[in-house]
């Protein structure tokens, strides 16, 4: 059974539809990478799951965590789930910590809230987790203020903090985008180890295909507020079914080694969510565009272990030449 099931999620900000029927599921202990260009709706998806969208946003569809419906849940219900069962790590480690509170105080607070732990017990657990995210001298770190730590260290503190109450699902929204490349690799390694050790499910949001290929069992590709393709990571990367995924891969420079590479740009711009083209949102940029693409939006259809939303995919899955033999370390 799935841990988190998002079904036909639509999010509107007044007249602007930013998510237009997003569906995916994450099983317990599984890692799902959510990829897409900036503005495709990845963060909106995460915020919707956690009930963090502004009160003025309209949210439709279903967000089930185990057997609890989270869409439209009240503050009290959300507070029970957030932190203790679903935790989140944000993109910017510099501003995600309260500058006025010591690391230890901020970490302990979470446990005092969810477990009713004493301050001393909470600090003990906090130190243990700092150790788990490979922060040296955790006891001393607990007494420091955020500005005394480097960016990579703060992000590891945030990961430790997110895992304190032993959640079942961790949502990480571009957790390494704000960090140096070398630090990125370190933080991702910590995340991956912890996930395996703790049997944690992970929703990893990124625009970096390298990050997905290294850290996620399954991946979903978002475009203009929709998931256009989803499947096993290795499969999708070697045999992309959607022209958008293929384009992402095709324009990706082939470099040796495991260095993460930013998504290259594809000709044209992603559509403004306020003025989405009729039919398939990718059609204006698509190399394989057909007449039907400009009139009818394709639906996401599942074929064995792969889903794809493309009229081209109405035929059996396209083996996209050239992409198959690339190396996605």
């Amino acid at each position: 059974m799935s841990l988190l099931t998002v079904d036909a999620l639509r999010v509107r900000h007044r007249a602007v539809t930013v998510l237009d029927g997003v569906s995916f599921a994450i099983a317990a202990g599984e890692s799902l990478g959510l990829v897409g260009e900036s503005g495709s709706g990845k963060s909106q998806t995460a915020l919707a799951v956690l009930g963090l969208l502004p009160a003025t946003a309209t949210v439709e569809g279903s967000i089930r965590f185990r057997d609890e419906e989270l869409r439209g849940a009240g503050r009290a219900q959300l507070d029970r789930v957030r932190g203790s069962r679903i935790a989140m790590v944000f993109q910017d480690p510099m501003s995600s910590l309260n500058p006025y509170l010591r690391i230890g105080v901020q970490m302990a607070e979470v446990l005092q809230q969810h477990r009713g732990s004493s301050r001393a017990a909470a600090l003990h657990d906090a130190a243990r987790l700092l150790d788990a995210v490979r922060i040296s001298d955790p006891r001393r770190r607990l007494t420091q203020y955020p500005h005394e730590l480097s960016g990579g260290m703060r992000q590891r503190v945030l990961i430790a903090m997110a895992l304190l109450a032993q959640p079942e699902l961790l949502i990480a929204d571009e957790p390494t985008t704000a960090l140096d490349v070398t630090v990125q690799a370190e933080v991702l390694a910590v995340l991956d180890d912890l996930r395996r050790d703790l049997g944690l499910a992970l929703l990893l949001i990124t625009h970096d295909l390298g990050v997905v290929s290294g850290n996620c069992e399954r991946m979903a590709v978002m475009y203009a507020g929709r998931i256009v393709e989803a499947g096993n990571t290795a499969d999708v990367l070697t045999r992309p079914a959607h022209p958008y995924t293929a384009a992402l891969l095709a324009t990706r420079p082939v470099l040796e080694g495991p260095r993460p590479i930013r998504l290259p740009s594809i000709a044209g711009q992603p559509p403004d969510p306020a003025r989405r083209p009729q039919g398939c949102a990718f059609s204006p940029r698509c190399q394989q565009v057909m007449p039907i693409c400009q009139t009818h939006a394709p639906v996401l259809r599942q074929q064995r272990d792969r889903s794809c939303a493309c009229h081209v995919g109405d035929e059996p899955l396209l083996p996209t030449d050239g992409a198959a033999d690339r190396n996605f370390a």
Partner: protein, 273 residues
């Protein structure tokens, strides 16, 4: 807040001036030749400053130095108490309005707007006339006016803070509203609150002085700087020191608070690193 702040002359100088004034107000009466309400029958009434009476005497032969110190106690106390009242009400009101937003915010801020629009001085004067000149009434009246600015500023800051990632992080970690407000929002308002409080003190002192100047404030023989200025102004030509000393302290105090507030604002606005 930080010792480093006191190393900036723009902050250290007004802070030092205020410290001296406070020390003088607190300990000055013991140094004075006679109690503030005692009459020196040996000295000339309305005597000029001399070794015996450094600030001279007033037209009843009371030592002006003692009276300026004691008046300072009251003026400073009014400033302090009203500021505390305004802090308590203003922070609570503003933070709750800003945090919950929406309808709660709209209603709470309309209340502030309405209170702003009322001619407060007029009401205070009316109350004083109706209920007599009660010291408590002065405190309440001034406190009631001065929290409005605080509430507006705190609300604005809370709205801005709500968009900070660490507040989102606190929300997703499952902390409740009260915990977030007390632990994460209010401590981060400290900078603006300190600045605003520093600027509220002189306002309150000024309002009290104004009331006293109109003869509606503090009652004889107790006194405040405003009341002393009022007395002094009446005999301005004959005994100018009766006006100069209390007015000088009043102005210096107001200026020092305003300097300090501006300097603190400049210092706290500078990017934190």
């Amino acid at each position: 807040m930080k010792p480093a702040l006191l190393r900036q002359p723009a902050i250290a100088v007004p802070a030092a001036i205020l410290l001296l004034i406070v020390l003088l107000a607190v300990f000055g009466p013991w140094l004075a030749p006679q109690p503030f309400d005692a009459i020196d029958f040996d000295a000339e009434w309305g005597a000029a400053p001399s070794a015996a009476h450094p600030f001279g005497t007033d037209d009843l032969g009371r030592d002006l130095f003692a009276r300026v110190c004691v008046g300072g106690r009251l003026s400073l106390a009014v400033g302090l108490v009203s500021t505390l009242v305004s802090l308590a009400i203003g922070i609570t009101w503003g933070a709750v309005a800003g945090w919950f937003g929406g309808r709660v915010d709209a209603v709470m801020m309309r209340v502030v707007d309405i209170l702003y629009a009322l001619p407060f001085m007029f009401f205070v004067i009316l109350l004083m006339v109706l209920f007599g000149r009660h010291e408590l009434l002065i405190f309440v009246a001034i406190g009631a006016v001065s929290w409005l600015d605080m509430a507006r500023i705190v609300r604005g800051q809370t709205l801005a803070l709500r968009r900070q990632p660490f507040i989102d992080a606190a929300v997703v970690s499952g902390l409740g509203n009260a915990a977030i407000l007390v632990r994460h929002v209010i401590p981060n308002l400290l900078g603006v609150v300190i600045v605003c409080a520093t600027l509220t003190v002189p306002q309150a002192i000024l309002v009290e002085s104004f009331l006293s100047f109109l003869g509606l404030g503090i009652q004889e023989p107790a006194t405040s700087w405003g009341a002393l200025v009022n007395d002094g102004a009446r005999a301005m030509e004959a005994t100018p020191w009766g006006l100069i000393f209390p007015a000088g302290f009043l102005v210096l105090t107001l200026l020092a608070f305003n300097w300090l507030g501006d300097a603190l604002r400049a210092a706290l606005d500078a990017p934190r690193r």
